[in-house]
Symmetry: C2
Subunit: 188 residues, 2 copies
DNA sequence: ACCATGACTGACTAATCACTCCACAAAGGT
DNA sequence: ACCTTTGTGGAGTGATTAGTCAGTCATGGT
């Protein structure tokens, strides 16, 4: 159950963190932009760190939800992987601030606030997908962790690029198709 | 001319920024760890922002210097690219804090403190290398900016991976060889 | 009508921050 | 010897910060 005010706080925090960084945005400013009293913020989140982590988890949750939209066990591995790939890139393009925030968070000392088991819990399903592809000899016989970071960073890079050139829908679709082929070619 | 104390300040700042983030480390702490008075820090750098940018430029400069070590016009394009690739990954492995700092900086609002022309000045030579590879039909006929972000993020990913598994020298070399082949296969 | 609960408020505080200021010292030119 | 420049120190300052706290208000149960 996330109340309206809580939503507003998260929304304002996201905007301001992206604009000015974590320590660069005072809690007072977040409260102000959320149209909420200072105390209210601390009513919902005991500390600023807790707010940051909550925001991260909320965004990650939404991305994960979206990522597997439309995948079906009847489809081939390649088709499913491409759906996941496209979902992620489309989500990133539609949620630039969220995506940027996640990147910012991942390359910051705040990442250590997330328990390692929480991280591996999120990562595990993806590693398993890659593992099965290796077993089926679809992918090269390489460590799945290696393929995972390459896949991840490929997506990061593509997001950056799509963000920079801001393509039309048709062009974007083409770009996703083409870059998926590059990725596929690299891993198979 | 960079004095000893200045060096110590940069060294301490790097360590602390990586550990606690930009705003998370007070200038007073940097001065203390550098074995220098508070005022001395501000004698060399008018503001904290100026210190951060100076640190970034210094690190980037060192990386750029190292990157092209050993390249020769007599060698083939592929050989030279591989040298650059390996130099970058080796530098990153030997300078984890520096590499992490650059990533942190790049995904932070501080990036906007670097003038766009400064950035494109650094990027241009790399784009030109890619352009020539496209002209010679070595690489696929794709936008060079696209290949650039993919190349960049591939290297970021590999650095992450190498950092995580901390391989022996021989294994690291093998990893660099193999991952370069992946990259090459993707772009040609 | 009365009360209990919990969301919500905003003035407040203790601590911390970036940065200043001024004193002094060493170096080097004349 | 004298002056100027440059480097260095560290106490000090005003602004800002995360977080507190004492209390108000709306809601719903009885």
């Amino acid at each position: 159950m996330v109340s309206d005010k809580q939503q507003e706080i998260l929304k304002a925090a996201l905007r301001l963190f992206v604009e000015s960084g974590f320590h660069g945005t005072p809690t007072s400013r977040i409260a102000k932009e959320a149209g909420v009293a200072n105390g209210t913020l601390f009513h919902y989140y005991k500390t600023k760190d807790e707010l940051i982590v909550a925001l991260y988890s909320s965004i990650k949750g939404k991305l994960n939800e979206r990522m597997h939209n439309g995948t079906q066990s009847e489809l081939s591995f390649k088709e499913n992987l491409k759906i996941i790939y496209a979902n992620t890139l489309n989500w990133a393009a539609e949620h630039k601030e969220e995506f940027y925030f996640v990147q910012q968070f991942n390359t910051s000392p705040f990442l250590s606030l997330i328990a390692p088991e929480e991280i591996s819990r999120q990562t595990k399903p993806h590693l398993e997908i890659l593992e099965s592809a290796v077993r089926q000899k679809i992918f090269k016989n390489l460590p799945v962790e290696l393929m995972f970071v390459l896949l991840n960073n490929h997506i990061y890079g593509m997001s950056q690029y799509i963000h920079n050139i801001a393509p039309e829908d048709a062009q974007k679709k083409q770009l996703i198709d083409d870059s998926f082929d590059l990725l596929w070619r690299m891993l198979t």
